[in-house]
């Protein structure tokens, strides 16, 4: 019953969305006046229906209705209720329904609460919002239905990825989605303004209002995500510039650019720039969803991989963004800017801030998409990771801090900034004396001191007339950057091997491993270490854990963190070694708490801006300024052109992936000589396995391990290869004699000779990333082919045998 109710509500919701999109338009054409009222009712009923539908899915998860495929695949009876509920959106189908649900809530909220706008703008906005909803609901209904039944009904489910069984991560997607989806209202408002052919002050204020809500939730979502990875992933970092994190950062930065241009556009300047940003912020939100949900980026966060769905989401993005940019191309020339702004004024500073934020979004977008494009075009695979973004953004943050501090004072006497500048200089000097070098961290200390001084000094409150929201946000940014500067300059990380009862001197004090105990908890078993850290001034107890989950089977470390104002001490429980000692990793992060405090302050700033933004400022009379013909032609079509190029690149990559699944991208090992190795034999009494054994004939090297499940699958095919007279040499990765021998006895021994690579050095020399991997080596000892993954019938006949015959 639950599923059917949910499904019908979803279908009715789609119908309501379609009516919301097209009836107001038809009504306006037919001269009927009920359009606006109809759009409002449709938005509210759509929301009620989708809420019902989403509610049914959550209930199905909460009561463990395993007759639903979605529940069976993602839930388990042994899971606490809160995570059973969170499991509803911990998968592709559920998370898309959450997307649709939030979309309908925003539509209804706009219909119900937005009063300060002309009826025409409101109705057009609702119609566009209805269109967005209709597209997404249709996608859910036809390509990603969470209400599919399964028969026979399983007795229990498969469970939820234990990494996701965490309150931080249960909250992270909803917050992020509220942020992403909130920008749909901004997009729709921009569309309505373009249809109307002007961006009035009321519309700018509405755009600001809704982008502030979305941006606020995005900030919280990103903050929760950062906090979650800090306290749960067990490596001490909070931001790894993973493509999926970047996907959230792009709309965040664009939203920031939009928020900074709104006070300028309110006075009638830079309208086109504001509308472009308002459209783009949602395009980036859609792109974020596309990147995360399509699995196009191989990433720890991608729990869903499905290229067909990727194409459909890309299509949705193309329709919406393309439509928005076409509208922009057609109508932007009609928008006339009024009173120009001066470069050295508060407005000039806001424009500069908006430009830098937009440029940062572009940099993140280019860095994230570059490897995709390069691989799609040339087959070359590169990584653009944290070191790239860190070097770029570290440099960028210095001028940003300066602009953030000086900007609000532009157009006023800069004398007021003298004392803060002095504070900054002293802070930088103090850091220099203390650390001995004036690196990036020193620069951030100086500029951060400058910034905080300018915000905190009495009489200098920069944006008094704006009520302090931006002061909070700017202060938060400065605090966060100071925290990052401390962490990047002063953190240290060490691993100690300790037996129970043993002590060791660490940089943080004397560390003692009291004991390690095994504790059964509701849905996992924890191996818990009790550590005592005597820092000289205090005695701290830390209890890091390794948790073993049973549904599904998985293991994750849970670090113990001691937080104080000056530094975080972070302890991770590693693996137990053969000699009975256990690896304990101690990471010290001075100033870590300030990073999260800064993020919270930014969110707080967003919140207080919202409360105080209803204050009105006087309107500057509209005076049209002439625009050159060239600009009038180029500017409006620029976004559309850029977007089409982007879609073309992403699209070709995807089509390529569907019809020609990636296998042999560039491989560094092909054409190289087999590395030298001498490995002990798997069976006693056999000779050692040497690379020289391979000389003079075409042979195959197979990397395997007794603990590797796919190696069992490929065993019959290796046997077939052996029966064809091919000499196969086996290298057992991270294995020992006994289990490797048992494996070969049980699944057959296809090898001429097999050696043990217990440290994995030869495997690394071979450029293998895991087990199993297979190589074809020619008579001269040159690697001619390399394959990662289990050999199957198709690989054997299509790739291996013909190649060997050719080489012979």
């Amino acid at each position: 019953m639950l599923a059917e109710t949910g499904l019908f509500a979803l279908i009715l919701g789609l119908i309501a969305a379609l009516l919301q999109a097209f009836v107001p338009w038809a009504a306006a054409r037919g001269g009927v006046t009920c359009g606006p009222a109809f759009a409002r009712s449709a938005a509210i009923s759509q929301c009620a229906l989708i809420t019902l539908s989403f509610g049914m899915l959550i209930t199905a998860h909460a009561v463990n209705d395993f007759s639903l495929l979605n529940v069976a695949e993602n839930s388990h009876t042994g899971k606490p209720l809160i995570f059973a509920i969170a499991g509803a959106w911990g998968n592709h189908e559920g998370s898309m329904l959450l997307w649709g649900f939030v979309l309908s809530v925003f539509g209804a909220a706009f219909a119900a609460f937005e009063r300060a706008l002309p009826e025409k703008i409101k109705t057009d906005t609702l119609a566009i919002a209805g269109l967005i909803s209709a597209l997404f609901l249709a996608y859910i209904l036809f390509a990603s239905l969470p209400f599919a039944r399964v028969f026979p009904v399983p007795l229990n489910g498969l469970g939820l990825n234990p990494l996701l069984q965490d309150i931080g991560l249960a909250l992270h997607p909803p917050l992020l989605y509220i942020g992403y989806v909130g920008f749909s209202v901004v997009f729709a408002l921009a569309g309505a303004a373009l249809i109307a052919g002007d961006l009035t002050k009321d519309t700018v204020l509405a755009i600001r209002r809704w982008s502030l809500i979305a941006w606020l939730f995005l900030t919280l979502g990103i903050g929760f995500g950062a906090w979650w990875s800090y306290y749960t992933l067990g490596w001490g970092g909070f931001w790894s510039w993973d493509p999926v994190e970047n996907a959230a950062l792009m709309p965040w930065l664009t939203g920031l650019a939009l928020l900074h241009i709104c006070p300028v556009a309110k006075h009638g300047a830079l309208k086109r720039w504001a509308l472009f940003l308002a459209l783009t912020v949602f395009v980036f939100s859609l792109m974020g969803t596309f990147l995360v949900r399509s699995g196009v980026l191989v990433s720890v966060h991608s729990f869903a991989t499905d290229p067909l769905r990727g194409i459909i989401i890309l299509g949705l993005m193309a329709i919406l963004a393309g439509g928005g940019y076409v509208l922009f191309a057609c109508r932007a020339a009609r928008l006339h800017d009024s009173a120009p702004i001066a470069p050295l004024s508060r407005e000039g500073g806001l424009f500069a801030a908006s430009l830098i934020a937009a440029a940062s979004a572009a940099i993140v977008a280019i860095g994230t998409l570059y490897p995709l494009v390069l691989e799609g075009m040339t087959g070359a695979r590169i990584s653009v990771g944290a070191p790239y973004f860190n070097s770029v953004f570290k440099m960028l943050m210095l001028p940003v801090l300066a602009l953030m501090t000086i900007g609000p004072h532009l157009g006023k006497p800069l004398k007021a900034l003298r004392i803060p500048a002095g504070i900054g200089a002293i802070a930088a000097a103090a850091f220099w004396i203390w650390q001995g070098d004036l690196s990036w961290s020193g620069g951030i200390m100086g500029l951060g001191g400058f910034s905080l001084g300018a915000i905190a000094l009495p009489g200098l409150r920069p944006l008094k007339r704006q009520g302090g929201g931006s002061a909070f946000a700017h202060g938060g940014m400065a605090v966060m950057l100071i925290g990052i500067a401390f962490v990047s300059a002063l953190s240290d990380q060490n691993v100690y091997a300790l037996a129970p009862g043993a002590s060791v001197q660490t940089t943080a004090g004397t560390l003692t491993l009291q004991n390690i105990s095994t504790v059964p908890v509701e849905n996992y078993t924890a191996e818990r270490a009790t550590l005592r850290l005597n820092t000289g001034s205090a005695r701290l107890w830390l209890t890091p854990e390794r948790r073993r989950y049973t549904h599904p089977e998985a293991e994750k470390p849970v670090p113990a963190i001691h937080t104080s104002l000056t530094e975080d001490i972070y302890a991770v429980l590693g693996q137990r070694a053969a000699d009975g000692s256990t690896d304990i990793e101690i990471i010290r992060h001075p100033g870590q708490i300030w990073i999260f405090t800064g993020m919270a302050l930014m969110a707080l700033g967003g919140m207080s801006s919202f409360r105080l933004q209803r204050k009105r400022t006087q309107n500057i009379p509209v005076t049209q300024t002439p625009v050159t013909r060239l600009r009038r032609r180029i500017e409006p079509v620029l976004p559309l052109t850029l977007f089409l190029v982007l879609i073309a690149i992403l699209g070709q990559h995807f089509v390529h992936r569907i019809f020609d699944p990636p296998q042999a991208t560039e491989d560094a090992m092909i054409g190289q000589r087999v590395p030298d190795f001498t490995l002990p034999p798997v069976a006693d009494g056999q000779p050692w396995l040497k690379s020289s054994d391979l000389k003079g004939k075409v042979s195959v090297i197979n990397v395997f391990a007794s603990w590797c499940a796919p190696c069992r699958e490929e065993a019959p095919y290796l046997a077939e290869l052996k029966s064809d007279g091919v000499a196969i040499y086996g290298i057992a990765y991270r294995d020992t004699q006994k289990p490797a021998q048992d494996f070969l006895e049980k699944y057959g021994n296809p090898y001429v000779a097999a050696g043990l690579d217990d440290k994995g050095r030869t495997v690394m020399d071979l450029g293998a990333a895991g087990v199993p991997e297979t190589y074809i080596v020619d008579k001269d000892g040159i690697i001619r082919w390399h394959y990662a993954g289990p050999v199957d019938a198709a690989t054997l006949r299509r790739d291996i045998l013909p190649r060997i015959r050719r080489l012979e």
């Binding site: 992933l233 067990g234 790894s240 191989v298 990433s299 720890v300 991608s302 120009p340 470069p343 424009f351 500069a352 430009l355 830098i356 440029a359 940062s360 572009a362 940099i363 280019i366 860095g367 570059y370 390069l374 040339t378 695979r381 590169i382 990584s383 653009v384 990771g385 070191p387 790239y388 770029v392 440099m395 004392i419 002293i426 802070a427 103090a430 203390w434 200390m445 001191g449 001084g453 905190a456 009495p458 002063l490 060490n494 470390p557 000056t566 530094e567 300024t625 002439p626 625009v627 050159t628 560039e666 491989d667 560094a668 090992m669 991270r734 440290k759 994995g760 050095r761 020399d765 895991g770």
Partner: protein
């Protein structure tokens, strides 16, 4: 306010000073620049996979053997290709990537310049 400033510096000065262990620090930096090939989304500093552990050990072995950072990276690139470097090398096919931040900022500056000069004339 001055009092707050003074407090800020006291805070700075009381934090413990520690000397960086250079070999360890070098190894940590290299760890965070090499991709874990099994997990694909993480560096070997972050990953708990077997291969990442082997690679970390290899990094330390090579540092102890006196190899430079560039030599160590070159070894891994010769085995796994450029994909293993989280900081892409500056070369023909990454030139645009490395120029991108400059170009984006230049475009922003150009936009502002264009806007203000036009306005000035108008």
């Amino acid at each position: 306010m001055r009092r707050i400033a003074v407090l800020f510096f006291l805070l700075l000065l009381t934090a413990p000073v520690h000397a960086a262990d250079t070999a360890n620090a070098r190894a940590r930096t290299l760890d965070s620049e090499l991709r874990c090939m099994t997990c694909q989304g993480e560096t070997i500093a972050e990953s708990s996979a077997d291969l990442a552990a082997d690679m970390r050990a290899e990094v330390r072995r090579r540092i102890a053997a006196g190899q430079s950072d560039d030599q160590i990276k070159a070894y891994f690139v010769s085995r796994y290709g450029d994909f293993i470097l989280m900081r892409p090398p500056v070369q023909g096919n990454t030139l645009l990537l490395w120029l991108a931040p400059g170009l984006a900022l230049l475009a922003a500056a150009g936009g502002a310049f264009f806007y203000f000069t036009r306005r000035g004339k108008a």
